[in-house]
């Protein structure tokens, strides 16, 4: 069964569950979300069967550019993140045998296994980034040794500013040229780019509203909602915009109900890096009246202060083109560059979101984070008096997971934090 078929089946199961026996704890708008996702996977299968070209994109180019080029995209690690159950173990085995170190971030091994398994189409082009996760850049180097196709790594400089913006944008133009030369049928269509971009801009505005609402006390989004903030860009954009609008309204409705029910917020937590996708951590926190107000690496994380905000004309003193908007986003990423960027970002989030404590997920084989997690914890304690829990684990591979131990560490941390009242 291909990756897409497996995930269509998953979406159909969820859709059926919602229709037949809806769980009141979950958002009603999830139904549309899953339908859009299912239809997107079906479109991918169709494109594959039609022999249409696919490229592998690892965060290098925006979805609206891929559509404007007329190419289909396999989003390497984001697709890997969707994997579950036996699929994970299957892809891990392939990935490790192909050369991914077995201790490195499991999502990278799953990604390599997925693309080498034959369960997704082979690429005509590979596009990646060198910005915030070099282990994933190395993963792309490895993947490209198995496929005979051109590849391009976009680099993002360490400093903010117009020079960096221009450098990234010029690289996007190079990718466009290279894809036109090497990917059959790829052709840049500027009108399409602008049309697609406008929809992404609308989505960004809705998501921005949702994100800013998190400043409220108590947080209007449940922990579960924050851990699963929707991605925009895969599939029919108009339906997705409808979904986001429904989602936003439903969040507001749910919030009213929670307030009326006397919901109390014991703790506002920032969860950093990632989390075990196979475990319902959102519900864990909800049962304990803890609000996860920040998931640092969510599909739509909380924006940095004054940077990287789509549509903003103050950051560079002018309106940006669609390609420059993507470049702006890349340049602003907190994980790029040196650790002071991330410290600044967390400082901003902790203040705005009134964070009471932090959990640093020490994701196995994540040097970009693990090599400075303790330093970050030290800084947040020093500056804000915020306590941190450093918690080890993996994202996709459930095999070593001890649920009791995991929960007990979190429970102890919540108890200590809420009883001591760090000011």
């Amino acid at each position: 069964m291909s990756f897409f078929e497996n995930h269509i089946a998953q979406m159909n199961r969820r859709i059926s569950k919602i229709r037949n026996n809806p769980d009141p704890r979950y958002l009603k708008s999830n139904l549309l979300r899953y339908e859009i996702q299912r239809d997107f996977w079906a479109d991918e299968i169709q494109a594959w069967e039609n022999g249409e070209p696919f490229i592998y994109n690892e965060g290098a180019i925006p979805d609206y550019l891929a559509v404007a080029m007329g190419v289909n995209v396999i989003h390497v690690t984001p697709y890997a993140d969707q994997c579950f159950g036996d699929e994970v173990q299957k892809y891990l085995k392939i990935g490790w045998e192909a050369g991914v170190p077995d201790w490195i971030c499991d999502r990278l091994a799953v990604a390599v296994g997925m693309v080498l398994s034959g369960d997704v189409p082979q690429p005509k082009f590979i596009a990646g980034y060198a910005r915030s996760c070099d282990a994933s850049t190395q993963m792309l180097h490895l993947i490209s040794t198995y496929f005979d196709c051109p590849s391009y790594i976009i680099e993002t400089p360490y400093v903010y500013g117009e020079d960096s913006l221009n450098y990234v944008t010029k690289q996007l133009w190079e990718i466009i040229d290279l894809m036109e030369q090497t990917v059959p049928g790829a052709k840049f269509d500027e009108d399409k780019l602008n049309e697609q971009f406008q929809k992404h801009l609308k989505a960004s505005s809705i998501l921005g509203e949702i994100n800013r609402s998190r400043r409220q006390v108590p947080c209007p989004l449940t922990s579960k909602d924050v851990m699963r903030i929707p991605r925009f860009g895969w599939g029919d954009l108009d339906r997705q915009l409808q979904y986001l609008s429904n989602y936003k309204d439903e969040i507001a409705e749910k919030y009213e109900m929670r307030l009326r029910s006397g919901f109390k917020e014991r703790l506002r937590l920032a969860w950093l890096v990632s989390y075990p996708f196979f475990y319902d951590i959102g519900s864990f926190f909800e049962e304990r009246e803890v609000s996860v107000v920040l998931l640092e690496i969510g599909t739509v994380g909380y924006p940095p202060k004054d940077r990287g905000i789509m549509g903003d004309d103050k950051e560079y003193g002018r309106r940006l083109t669609p390609l420059e908007e993507w470049s702006r986003n890349q340049v602003a990423r907190p994980w790029g560059g040196t650790i002071d960027r991330r410290i600044d970002y967390l400082r901003h989030c902790c203040k705005e979101l009134k964070v009471g404590a932090l959990v640093h997920y020490i994701q196995s084989g994540c040097p970009i984070n693990n090599a400075t997690a303790w330093l970050l914890a030290e800084e947040m304690k020093r500056e804000f008096g915020l306590p941190s829990l450093l918690l080890e684990g993996r994202m996709l591979d459930k095999s070593g997971f001890d649920q009791k131990d995991f929960e007990s560490k979190l429970d102890n941390f919540i108890e200590v934090t809420t009883s001591t009242r760090f000011e």
Partner: protein, 382 residues
């Protein structure tokens, strides 16, 4: 002459004496994190000593582990420990290069703990590809680095001083390359000696190094010494600067005929184009540091071709990779190198190691088995 050679061998092993003497003379030492693409010429042109930072050889890393879990490259942990324990004093500056995420974060931690305001800190990032756009960007970054350096230390790095520095460092590279070339056909030095000599270049004042090695070049071919007679191997690693490993290989019966190490061949294989440097020294430096043999953060196919070419040129019978257990770049790259080596009929063994010598017995057993197999031409996948 043996005394001169001993000076280099000792400096190559220990790596601090020359820097301490330099500081005693009231001059500045600028630490460089390896693997490196940092243009040492800039530091040299400012009249300062570019000095490769080394980690502690102590097994105790209790200070560093306040910042680093055990599942990170031990190289970075031992460097942080060396500073935190007080074994090494912070030099007048630390310069890093974004060779990988771990290295970048080592730089971050060092900057965090080095609170002395008179110390300079800078990290450079380099392109992953060579195109006119990337080269232009790298030139811009190097130029910014020069400006920051000048501003911080209130010095002026002129084109003239930079050109002179290029010539001096090119001399270092050329002298070392001559040693490597001599080793192609004759065994003037064993691998451990060669790498100690090369390593000395990364921590000594270049003029002093050039003077000593220049004087030794005529002597070395006449030198008699015990050279291992076992199979010729090529040693590849990232962040390996502990010569005990090279000693172990040669005590186990092989000769390290050639290497792909940042403190070895990768340091000296090419030179900066002095003709280009006459008009634009920064551009000449940018091109040199992008084209030279490198830590495989990128340019995989180029680096594999280079290693296999060295295998041919140096009549190597097998490749031995000693990769830091948590050095992810080397681990990724070696999986590709091994596939290519096998296609070329070249045996390769990849063994994980720590920064300091550990599990010596186990390592030796595995090495000896490999050397035996390749000596007898019985190679199959090990």
């Amino acid at each position: 002459m043996e005394d001169l050679l001993r000076t280099l061998l000792d400096e190559g092993s220990e790596g601090q004496k020359a820097a301490m003497e330099w500081q005693r003379q009231g001059k500045k030492v600028i630490g460089i994190l390896y693997p490196s693409y940092v243009p040492e010429e800039i530091i040299h042109a400012a009249g300062m000593l570019p000095w490769r930072v080394r980690g502690t050889r102590s097994p105790d890393t209790s200070h560093a582990t306040t910042y680093r879990p055990p599942t990170l490259a031990s190289y970075g942990t031992h460097i942080i420990e060396a500073f935190m324990s007080g074994e090494i004093k912070f030099p007048d500056g630390i310069i890093g290069f974004n060779v990988d995420d771990d290295n970048r974060r080592v730089y971050d931690v060092l900057v965090h703990i080095d609170t002395e305001k008179s110390h300079f800190h800078h990290i450079l990032d380099g392109p992953r590809n060579i195109t006119p756009l990337r080269l232009e960007e790298f030139v811009r970054r190097i130029s910014n680095f020069v400006e920051d350096f000048e501003h911080f230390f209130q010095v002026k790095i002129t084109h003239s001083s930079l050109k002179k520095a290029i010539r001096t460092l090119n001399k270092t590279r050329s002298l070392l390359k001559k040693v490597y070339e001599m080793r192609r056909t004759s065994t003037i030095l064993c691998g451990a000696e060669t790498l100690r000599v090369a390593s000395a270049a990364t921590s000594m004042p270049k003029e002093q190094f050039n003077n000593i090695l220049g004087n030794l070049l005529d002597y070395l071919p006449k030198r008699t010494g015990a050279i291992p007679s076992g199979p010729r191997i090529l040693l590849i690693s990232e962040t390996l600067d502990n010569m005990e490993y090279v000693d172990l290989i040669e005590d186990s019966g092989a000769l390290v005929a050639m290497d792909a190490l940042d403190i070895g061949s990768r340091y000296c294989w090419f030179t900066v184009d002095e003709k280009e440097a006459e008009t634009d020294p920064i551009l000449a430096l940018a091109k040199y540091y992008l084209l030279k043999p490198t830590y495989p953060r990128s340019f995989w196919r180029r680096e594999v071709e280079r290693v296999l070419e060295w295998v041919r040129q140096y009549n190597v019978k097998g490749i031995l990779a000693l990769t830091d257990t948590y050095g992810y770049v080397g681990l990724y790259f070696n999986s590709f190198l091994k596939r290519q080596a096998e296609q070329a009929g070249v045996p390769m063994l990849d063994i994980s190691r720590e920064y300091i010598m550990a599990n010596r017995g186990q390592l030796q057993t595995r090495m000896q088995a490999f050397f035996e197999i390749i000596s007898e031409g019985r190679y199959h996948q090990v």
